[in-house]
Point group: C2
Chain length 424, copies 2
């Protein structure tokens, strides 16, 4: 195989004709595959069936003297706070255990910033002329959708293998209209990179002009190592406290990809002052979250070691899926010099940069062939990837056999779109 | 027993001295009783233990072809929509099945009205110079707290045994700043009254000046009959649709007092257009609510008949508690002419009007004697009862023996406060 850039026009034409035939074969099979979202597969869900029955009698429902069936304990049951504090490396009193979705906790925080203001806000964000938010790119589409929904001005900040460009970030936070930043610090969505120690230190030491700057630390994949043992990760709450900004950070995590995506537990870690302030607002909104499900998780996950052992079993299921993606790209695409991609050691995604100007075309070709990918551009604010290059690959849901087939098709589509771009 | 108004000064002094001795006896017992909140008792929670195991295997988790363990189905699983539509008398497509708290759904709706506006809003409420809300009084403190938290101007509207004063309501909604009204139409909190057909018709036919007027129809006690069989209740969505205002109403209900208060399911019923609009906003906030818990409820509650049979068992537990309250008041207080109270046939509360100017004193005397009541004034906006008279009695949590004791003390406190007020 030669790099496409070295092909003559005729060679490109011959190659395209060959590929179009292969594509038509796939097309005619009427496939229906989905690699759009970071959904765990059925075999992962089956790992945790014992969660369903771990609390099964009225007597089981009492924990630390609390009857979890009844109202009360707005910020979560103590045992769940201890469990998640151990996993995240924070203190139990810094943990709010919420409902089934950390995304909901993030939205709620931003929403309350708009309607009531955060702890150090001079006024609710709805009263600010402009609210700007830093969006490391490529990033998580649902983060950007929250910002978009509230009418924020989103400022993209480039990511490399160490995290966001901190020179840029440090310059941007001097603007008091910049109210926060979205981060997925471990196994970033979609790149799968881990922020370096230096980047994390610089983030913790940020001195934003906005007194209510919200560092949205979405630690969604904190224990989601796939190709390696658990990689310890420093506690951002401690780092911010040591840097003199204890109330700047809100950390989020959930069991959506540990137990059940639809029926797990989401948590928010924040300084005690932030927690007190949030509790004063949350008490208006809800009497208590589902403590029964919190208790199920405590009894099932037990502690960090038991949880990490479960994550090893998830990894055994996920590793072949990530390998199917990476092996296909390595074999089929690497020699052609038409795309690059990340090689994450964990998380839920592979970030693929197709030849600039071809991402939309690739996703559309895939769709026509019956394979749904995350929309091109989704990893950028407003869905606009200026290079039309980035594609998020979510390999977790399909079985390996289907995934291999989908990757075959993807490689064909990447090639077709590249050849079209190069001119035929 | 003579009415206190007929006592001479000396008789009042003698009576007070006698009561103070009884009060001191109670006081010295170091009691710790709670009648503050509408919390079900343990025996009620034990009625529904089968909910814990009704979904107990991976196979159990598939419903209508949906694996409820995974992401998806933002607005709830179809079977849960059907169940709650049958109970409320609406259509399944008018139902959103949410998380564990209908209060959360109410707050979320109001919050979105402020940040994004409702379907027919000209602008988000945060951009309105003033937002006014109608608050039938006495009413539910948590409704008023939501309004207060968002800085609404709350307008109290008197209630009688038929519901809110509709002449007042019809006049007030001509003000375009009046954006909505809180209602608990069946077994109102705290009065326990059922809105009359005429009141409900007039509410459905309201023509508010605000195009985005939100009728917050909190049908929290829709199947919570205690001293009678299930009383059918007309579907407010149909009535509003027939009156030409299909999008004016948002109805809320939950299983908090059917299954587990902390781990039940909340629902919002609204027109299909409202549901579509809300879904467009909710999709930014959450991927899906806890469908596994929705499925538990579908499998356990089955249908309306089975649910009503369960409510009969709740009623058997609650009836003696309500009787303990009503009997004590009838025997000890009625002859004295110092208070009046409602005699609800269902719901969770008795509304007691103590002698004007004594409610705070009564609650404080109770507190000192070790019995916590809902704070005096809580049933009014901003916690201000202009007559300092209303006290909400929540008889459901304590066992009957404790409740009888608490009522003995309450009767003593009502008498002491009344005598102090009459002058001694």
């Amino acid at each position: 195989m030669k790099a496409y850039s070295e092909l003559t026009l005729q060679e490109r034409r011959d190659e395209l004709a060959k590929l179009q035939k292969i594509y038509q074969d796939f097309h005619s099979r009427g496939l229906n595959l989905n690699m759009a979202r970071g959904k765990p597969g059925k075999d992962q869900l089956d790992l945790v069936s014992d969660l369903l029955t771990v609390v099964s009698s009225a007597d089981d429902c009492v924990d630390d003297g609390i009857d979890v069936r009844n109202y009360g304990n707005l910020t979560g049951i103590p045992s769940a706070k201890r469990l998640f504090a151990e996993i995240l490396g924070t203190k139990p009193e810094e943990i709010l255990v919420g409902g089934n979705a950390s995304l909901n906790l993030m939205y709620d925080l931003i929403s309350k910033a708009y309607t009531h203001g955060l702890l150090h806000s001079e006024r609710p964000w709805s009263k600010e002329p402009t609210v700007k938010f830093l969006c490391p790119v490529p990033g998580y589409d649902r983060h950007f959708k929250i910002s978009q929904s509230f009418g924020m001005e989103m400022i993209p900040v480039a990511m490399d293998e160490n995290g966001p460009d901190m020179d840029k970030v440090e310059a941007l936070v001097r603007d008091p209209a910049v109210k926060g930043m979205w981060c997925v610090p471990k196994y970033s969505n979609p790149g799968g990179i881990i922020y370096s120690d230096e980047v994390i230190d610089r983030i913790a030491r940020l001195k934003p002009a906005a007194p209510d700057f919200a560092l949205m630390w979405d630690n969604a994949y904190c224990i989601h190592d796939v190709f390696c043992d658990f990689i310890p990760f420093r506690d951002i709450l401690t780092l911010c406290r040591e840097a003199g900004s204890p109330d700047m950070v809100y950390e989020f995590a959930s069991t959506s990809k540990v137990t059940f995506p639809g029926a797990g537990v989401g948590v928010m870690a924040a300084s005690i002052d932030n927690q007190k302030y949030m509790e004063s607002l949350l008490t208006v909104e809800i009497i208590s979250y589902d403590k029964l499900n919190q208790l199920r998780h405590v009894r099932f996950l037990k502690d960090k070691d038991t949880t990490l052992a479960l994550m090893k079993r998830h990894a055994q299921i996920l590793a072949p899926k990530f390998s199917a993606v990476l092996d296909a790209l390595e074999a089929e695409i690497a020699p052609l010099g038409i795309a690059s991609w990340t090689k994450p050691k964990g998380g839920y995604f592979v970030s693929l940069d197709a030849m600039p100007g071809t991402a939309k075309r690739v996703v559309s070709l895939m769709k026509q062939a019956g394979v749904t990918l995350t929309g091109a551009g989704a990893t950028y604010p407003l869905g606009i990837d200026p290079l039309d290059s980035n594609i998020r690959i979510a390999p977790t849901l399909p079985p390996v056999s289907e995934l291999k087939l989908a990757m075959e098709i993807l490689c064909v589509c990447l090639k077709i779109a590249a050849l079209e771009k190069l001119g035929v």
